[in-house]
Each structure stands twice: as C-alpha cells, then as structure tokens.
C-alpha cells in the first residue's frame, strides 16, 4: 500500500512545489528589471552557498554544524527518496544510503529542536517553532518507510496501521519541506535563498570581494523612479533577496538603532518587504516588533506605497530614518541580504519626491546645495583652520604625491585639532602633499545617505571635475565617510582614485620608516572601529598597527573589528534624530568603559563628535593622528638614519 501512496504523495508535493515556485518567481518579477547573469549566477550558486555563505554562518559554530547536518541530510534524503520511493527503485544500497541521510537529518533536526526549546529573543517563533518538528517527522517517516527497502524489516511490516501512520508523517514532512519551500513556509529560505545567491545584486561580494558603495540613481532619465515608493519599485532581485530571509535575527542583535529603542528592526523591515511583495498585513510576523510599534497595525501590497506620511502603510518613515547605515546587519546576515540598500532606496523616494527628510534634514540638504557644506558655513572659511600652517595648495602645485582630502571637519573646531595633528605628521614625514583648499566640496556622503541622490551627484561631479585638473598619486583623508565615498562611490560617476584612510597611510609611513616616533605615555587605550572604515572597507589592521607602533597595546572591546558597534553618527542619523530609549553613543561608551581603558582611539570625525558628546566622566577621545603627532620625535642624527630612507627623503625634497 505504501508503495502506491508514497509516489503519489511525493510527486503531488513536488508538482505543487513547482507551481508555487512559478507563482513566487512571478511575484519577484513584479520588481523593476535588473541586469543579472542568469546562467553564470546559477552555476556559481553552489560555490557561493558552500563557501561564501558558509563563512558567515560559520561564525556561529553550533548553528553551522546543525545546518550542515540538517540541510545536507535533507537534500540527500529528498533526492534518494524520490529515486527509491518515487520511482520505486528498491535497491538495497540506495536504501541504506537513504537511511543514513535520514539519520543525519534527524540528528541535525534534534539540535534545531534543542535551540528552539529556549530560543533567544532575536529568533522568530510561530511557524519557525514548527519547523524542527516537521524536520524530525520527515526524517523519521522516511527512515521507517525505507527499512523494508534496505531489507532490515520484511515487506509489508506493520500492516495498514503503520502504513497509514507513515503516510501521515510523510505527508506532513513533504508539505513543510517541499510545498512550504515555495508557498511561503519557513523552508522558503532554501528556495529563495539559493536563487538570491545566484542572482545577487552585488555579485562582487562573493569570493572574498567587497561591494559596499551605494548604487547610483539614473537622474538623466526623467521617467526612471527616484527611489522606491512601492515594493514593485525595487529591482526584482532585491525582492528575491528579501524573500531569502531566514529570520535568524542576527541583524536585530547587531542593530544599534534597535538596541537604542529606536523604531527599527532590520529583520522586521525585511519581513515587511516580504509582506509588501506578496500583499497583506504584518499580523503574522512572529519576531520582535519595531520598538514601540505594535504588530498588526501595518499592511501593504506590491503596488501600494510603502510609507504613508499622514497615516499608516507598510512601514513608518521614522523606521527608515532610524538607520545609521552602519552595515552591521548586512555584515551579520547569513543570507547576504542588503538591508542598507533597501533603506536608502526608500529614503530616496521620501527625500527626492516627497521632500520629507525629517528634522534638520532639509536644512542640511539646503546648506549642501548652497554652501557645499552641511553646516551652511561661508565656503570661504574652509581653510581657516590652517591659516597659520602655510599649507601647499593643489591649485598652485598642480602635481603632487598625496592629496590631503580635508573634509567638512574643517569647519568643526574639535576636528580641526585632528587635522592639524595630521598635517604635523605629514610634514614630519616630508610627504609631498597639498590640499584643495577652497576648491574642495563636501563629498556628498550625508546627502546620499539622506536619500538626496541629486545633491550627492552634483557635489560628486563637481569634485570629480576639480580633481580632473590636477595630478596626484593618492588621496588621503582623515574622514572614513569621505574616504568611502571617494573610493567606492565616485567610480560610477567617472572618478577613479587611489584613496587611503589616514591610518592606512600612517601605517605605510611607519613601515617605510619615514616617521620617528616615541612611545605613547599614559594609560590604557582601546580602539573604536569606524563603520565606514571597517565594515565598509575592511580596514581593521592598519589603525591597530599604527597604535602598536607607538607602543599602545589595544584593549579590545567585546564588539570590535567587523562586529564593532556604531557610534550613532552615520547615515545622517544625528540629523534626522529619531528618538529612542537611549542614545547609541552612550551604549558605545559603555562598551568602551567595560575595557577599563582611559583613552579611546578613533579614526573618524563623526565618531569623535558622537563619543565626545557622552557626558563625563568618561574616557578621553583622541584621533589616531593626534596620538601619533604627540609622540613625533625630532629626526635623529643623520648617522643613525637608515640609508634608503635618507635617499628617499632627499628625493621628495
């Protein structure tokens, strides 16, 4: 009896799954067109899954092993079950193989079930709590049903009663694991996830690459939408990406805005996009809500606006403006979903079409348009900080080794100390450098993250035109935001440069022995990784190497390196200033205080401002350039100087 029932169940489930897959695919295709490598992506998918994705999952050893056993066992068991039970190929060896696969899957599923007994808050409940039971049911049912095939039990063992029980078990299992994959159950992540990896919008991220620059809007085509108003305004592979979410909540655990009680939860946001793409309300969401926003009050559809400024739609605007674009969610996401891209896309619509940048946003954008700096300061004062430094101007030198990109910190009295310190270092190393002076403009970072792509492109194009007049080998900046934008976002608009953060450059200078440094005196030091230097550009080593060179042993924070917690200053968050229960910099200062350090080294004017805004008593905050400038020594007697270094310096002069 099972021999007739099982093939029917299996093939019926498979057929329905294929129909569901088609339906789901059409749902994604409601999005705007996107260029993808259809075949190449599919071919690269197994490698992306087994290597790139596994690297991310591997950070949580428990889960990665559990997943390997469960998913590996399931794929094997499903394939063998189709052969053995579907096509009735009752081969003993295949039978044993299927038994082994079922055991593997069952073992994995036991660990899934164990984690579900006391799940952390970041995990979604609801159907996700059902999944381990379904996995166990699938594995157990096929195990027992296969025993006769392997010859361990006689054919027809257990009679119709066991057959009926097994049929129910198999039906449950295949419903969850085959049907659920394409009809919207928890297993959807496997189907959508695989295709998301194949047709990812940032394929450069695979194979150890990095792709963090925002993608430019086409402003020349008046018909192209300015950002995302409705879910169908996303590109179709973005929609596919949202559907890949496993709701593991790693993003939620890493999100500084969520921790601060601001109304953002990256996981919920992605799930809301899934609700939007299929249509419906968020009532079935079984995870943590946006802080302060109850579940069940928002709904949307593929062709309905995501944000309603006068009421409730799918997502509230303040949710989108809470994001600091720190990219912690993207870094943690085991499905490599691009949360920040989606948020900025939706912000673009709010700013460019609705003129609804909250709080100081509009003022800052107006200032950027009218004065090229966010503070609205007279552009003529851009070089006032260096009035006594006699800085060489690129407009006079025309050609130079290093262009020192000053950034808008030039107008901020605190950051001027950093800038002056770095100039001291550059001069001590006899670097052939110059600044743009009054020709420099804001890099456009803030405008872009506030969704004002038009102002960003205008600033960027003007900067690119200015830079095109001169010759220089590299750009060095003390501001990771300018650094990131110049390095990764100007390329699309025609500006390709070698850009270094000042910590990287100082590391090079130290490495080539151009700096004579003493040792840092004073207490213990910790280091805060800026998001735009670390997660955006992968530079974790150089700042630490520089600190080491001046005799500092960094007392690392628990959240450092790629897991560093944002200072709260990115993405225009201090400008839009969405209220929460606590402030992000206060939380970061707690992290710093836990190390017991008396001083925190930073490499970003935003981080400096945010952390210095924390009320005392707190550790002192100093930029790496300041720490290096403090321990600069007079050049030692020529006899002591290593010969090659001497020659190089002579050349420079």
């Amino acid at each position: 009896m099972l021999n007739t029932l099982l093939p029917i169940l299996l093939f019926a489930a498979l057929a329905l799954a294929v129909i569901g897959a088609g339906k789901r695919f059409l749902m994604w295709r409601r999005g705007r067109p996107a260029q993808v490598d259809w075949i190449g992506g599919l071919l690269a998918m197994p490698r992306r899954y087994l290597v790139d994705l596994h690297h991310v999952v591997e950070r949580d050893k428990y889960m990665s092993r559990t997943h390997v056993a469960t998913a590996g066992g399931f794929v094997l068991a499903a394939l063998l079950a189709i052969v053995v039970h579907g096509f009735g190929l009752h081969n003993r060896i295949l039978g044993f193989a299927l038994l082994a696969a079922c055991v593997l899957m069952f073992g994995g599923a036991l660990f899934v079930a164990k984690r579900r007994r006391n799940p952390p808050a970041r995990l979604s409940k609801g159907p996700w709590n059902r999944l381990p039971k379904s996995l166990l049911m699938f594995a157990a049912s096929f195990f027992i049903a296969t025993l006769p095939v392997a010859g361990i039990l006689p054919q027809g063992f257990g009679g119709w009663l066991l057959a009926a029980v097994l049929a129910v078990g198999v039906a449950w299992g295949v419903s969850e694991l085959f049907l659920g994959m394409t009809w919207g159950g928890p297993m959807k992540h496997a189907f959508a996830g695989a295709l998301h990896l194949a047709w990812h919008r940032r394929a450069e991220r695979f194979g150890g690459g990095r792709s963090t620059g925002l993608k430019a809007l086409d402003l020349d085509d008046p018909k192209a939408p300015l950002g995302v108003e409705k879910p169908s305004d996303f590109t179709w592979n973005q929609l596919l990406g949202f559907d890949a979410c496993v709701q593991c909540g790693k993003c939620e655990a890493a999100c500084p805005a969520f921790a601060a009680g601001q109304p953002l939860n990256p996981k919920k946001l992605i799930q809301d996009m899934v609700v939007g793409l299929a249509g419906g309300s968020d009532a079935k969401f079984a995870g943590s809500p946006y802080p302060g926003k109850p579940i069940g009050e928002h709904s949307g559809g593929p062709h309905l606006p995501i944000v309603d400024l006068n009421g409730k739609a799918l997502v509230d605007a303040e949710t989108l403006w809470s994001c600091t674009t720190c990219r912690a969610c993207v870094e943690e996401c085991p499905m490599m979903i691009e949360h920040v891209d989606a948020i900025v896309d939706m912000r673009r619509h709010l700013t460019l079409e609705k003129g609804a940048t909250p709080n100081k946003g509009a003022e800052v954008l107006d200032n950027l348009i009218a004065t090229d700096n966010p503070g609205g300061f007279a552009p003529g004062g851009r070089l006032n900080w260096a009035a006594d430094l006699n800085l060489p101007l690129l407009s006079e030198k025309k050609s130079v080794d290093v262009l020192f990109w000053v950034g808008d910190g030039a107008f901020d009295m605190r950051n001027q100390r950093t800038l002056r310190a770095f100039v001291k270092v550059l001069k001590a190393a006899n670097v052939d450098f110059a600044v743009l002076g009054l020709e420099e403009r804001d890099s456009g970072d803030v405008a872009r993250r506030l969704g004002d792509e038009a102002t960003f492109q205008q600033l960027a194009k003007r900067n690119i035109a200015t830079l095109a007049q001169y010759r220089f080998n590299k750009i060095v900046s003390c501001d990771p935001h300018s650094f990131h934008v110049l390095k990764n976002e100007y390329g699309e608009l025609g500006g390709h440069y070698q850009v270094l953060h000042h910590s990287t450059y100082m590391d090079e200078l130290i490495g080539s022995q151009k700096l004579h440094l003493g040792k840092h005196k004073g207490g213990s030091v910790t280091y805060h990784d800026p998001c735009y230097l670390g997660r955006y550009n992968g530079e974790y080593e150089a700042p630490r190497a520089v600190l080491k060179a001046i005799g500092i042993e960094v007392k690392e924070m628990e959240r450092s390196g790629f897991r560093s917690r944002c200072c709260g200053g990115g993405g225009g968050a201090p400008i839009t200033d969405i209220p929460g229960k606590q402030r992000i910099p206060d939380m970061r200062m707690l992290d710093i205080k836990q190390t017991g350090a008396e001083l925190v080294a930073v490499g970003c004017p935003q981080c400096t401002a945010m952390l210095e805004g924390v009320v005392a008593p707190r550790p002192e905050i100093k930029d790496i350039a300041e720490l290096v400038a403090e321990v600069l020594l007079e050049a030692p007697a020529p006899a002591k100087k290593p010969a090659p270094a001497k020659r190089e310096m002579a050349e420079v002069q």
Binding site: P222, L226, T351, L352, E353, K354, G355, A356, T357, G361, A362, L365, D366, I369, A370, T371, D372, G376, F377, A378, P379, D452, E453, A454, T455
Partner: protein
C-alpha cells in the same frame, strides 16, 4: 483649505554666506502659507528670467507650474505685476517682506498695494478663516505677539520669519514642474536707469545699556515687552492732530531734519 484665488509672488534669493542663488527664505514662506491655504490651486508668480534654475526650488515644494513674466533684470516689475494681478482676479496676494537680491528695498508690497488700491497686511502669520469676503488673520508683532485683524478681500499680505517655515524642496517635483514664461511689455525702470546703486549700510543700532545687577533682572530685561518709556497713546484725535504728533516725534528723533 479655502477656495480662495491666491497668488504668491516669488523672487530669486541668495544664500547669506555663499551668495548662491536659491529660493528666497521669506518668499518660500509665502508659498508655504499659500499651499496650506489653497493646496495645488495656489498660483505662483515671478517677474524675471524664466530660465533661472533657482526658481525650480519653489516648484520642488509641490507646484505643478510657476508663471514667469519674462523680463530683463533692470525692468520695472511693478506695472507688470499690477496689471497681471488685476487680470488674474486674485483675492489674496502673498509676498515676502524684502527680496534677497536686486534692490531689496522691501517697498514692493507697499507700492503694489497702493497701485491696486488694496489693503496690505505686513507680517502675516496665519489666515484663520475667510467668511463673506472678509478674512480673519493673525499679524505677527515683535516678541511673538499676534494681532487679530479682519481684512476685506482682496488684499495683499507680506510675510516675514513669523510665518510657518517653508517645506522642503524636493528634486522630483522641482524637475517635473513647469516654468511658464509669459510674454509681457517690458517697462523700463527709469529710476534704476539713472540712479546709482550703492551697498546698503547696516542700520545703526541703539546701544543697549545693561543696568541689571542680577541674573534675574537681566532675564527680565531680555524678555520684557518693548517699552518706549516716554511713549504716549493718542486716542480720539483728529487726523490733523495725529499727523502733527507724529511729525513732532520724527523731528525729535532726528528722522526728519
């Protein structure tokens, strides 16, 4: 929102620190007030160059179009605006108090009201209601005070910084909006043609002598109502006697010599 026929007059502004062309701060507030009153039925009018990109910043506030009386910089805008407003059947005309570029004399609302023969409300802060051809409005006075006025339509009102802040100008509507040029007969500004312009000097300010000894007194002095001390309230006077009193004060203060 009312069904009033409202026209806002706008000029090209200049950013105070960079001098770059932009939407003028007060004119943008006039547009904001107009948008709140009339929604997309608000008409916005500029006399000048229809190619001026800075005008798009007004369109970015959500206007479908902006009418431009096409005339060169030196031409006199007053006669053109007067005839346009008369023909357009405007019931309420909103302007800023003073332009940020050009002459910036702040005289336009007064001259326009005079020519049209309409009442002028300076420092309009809010239109509360319009009934039977009479508008009830709030006029802004110094130190946050408001005066409630009843004005018959049509009238002209200038806004200053007491009016609601202008909404953000968005790129999308700014790009889509139309700058509609109107051909007009250009009228030479005879005064501007022969007179010489010189930069304005900041108005001299009376020095404030702080007599307060304690913080509380300083606070009181800073927040107290403007009190002339020697001022007097003239009531039930003939126009002749009133004018004489004002004349006498102007001579005392050295305004008239």
């Amino acid at each position: 929102m009312t069904d009033l026929n409202i026209i806002a007059l706008v000029s090209v502004g200049a950013h105070p620190t960079s001098g770059r062309a932009r939407r003028a701060e007060q004119d943008a507030r006039a547009v904001e007030l107009g948008l709140r009153l009339a929604g997309d039925k608000l008409q916005v009018l500029h006399a000048g160059d229809p190619q001026e990109e800075a005008l798009r910043a007004y369109l970015g506030m959500g206007l479908a179009q902006l009418s431009v009386l096409d005339q060169p910089k030196q031409a006199d805008a007053l006669p053109l605006l007067t005839s346009y407003l008369q023909d357009a059947g405007a019931q309420l005309v909103l302007t800023g108090s003073q332009a940020e570029t050009g002459e910036g004399s702040g005289m336009l609302p007064f001259l326009l009201a005079e020519r049209l023969g309409w009442p002028l409300v300076v420092g309009l802060a809010e239109v509360e209601k319009v009934e039977n051809g009479v508008a009830q409005v709030l006029q802004a006075l110094p130190r946050g005070q408001r005066r409630r006025l009843k004005v018959r339509l049509p009238f002209l009102a200038s806004v200053d910084n007491a009016a609601p802040t202008a909404r953000q100008s968005a790129f999308g509507p700014a790009r889509r909006g139309q700058l509609q040029a109107h051909e007009v007969n250009i009228v030479e500004d005879s005064l501007l043609a022969e007179a010489q312009l010189q930069p304005a000097r900041p108005r001299p300010k009376r020095l404030k002598v702080i007599k307060a000894k304690t913080g509380a007194e300083r606070m009181k002095a800073a927040t107290a109502k403007a009190s002339g001390g020697g001022g007097q309230v003239l009531k039930d006077l003939s126009p002749q006697a009133g004018a004489e009193a004002i004349f006498k004060l102007l001579i005392e203060e050295g305004v008239l010599r």
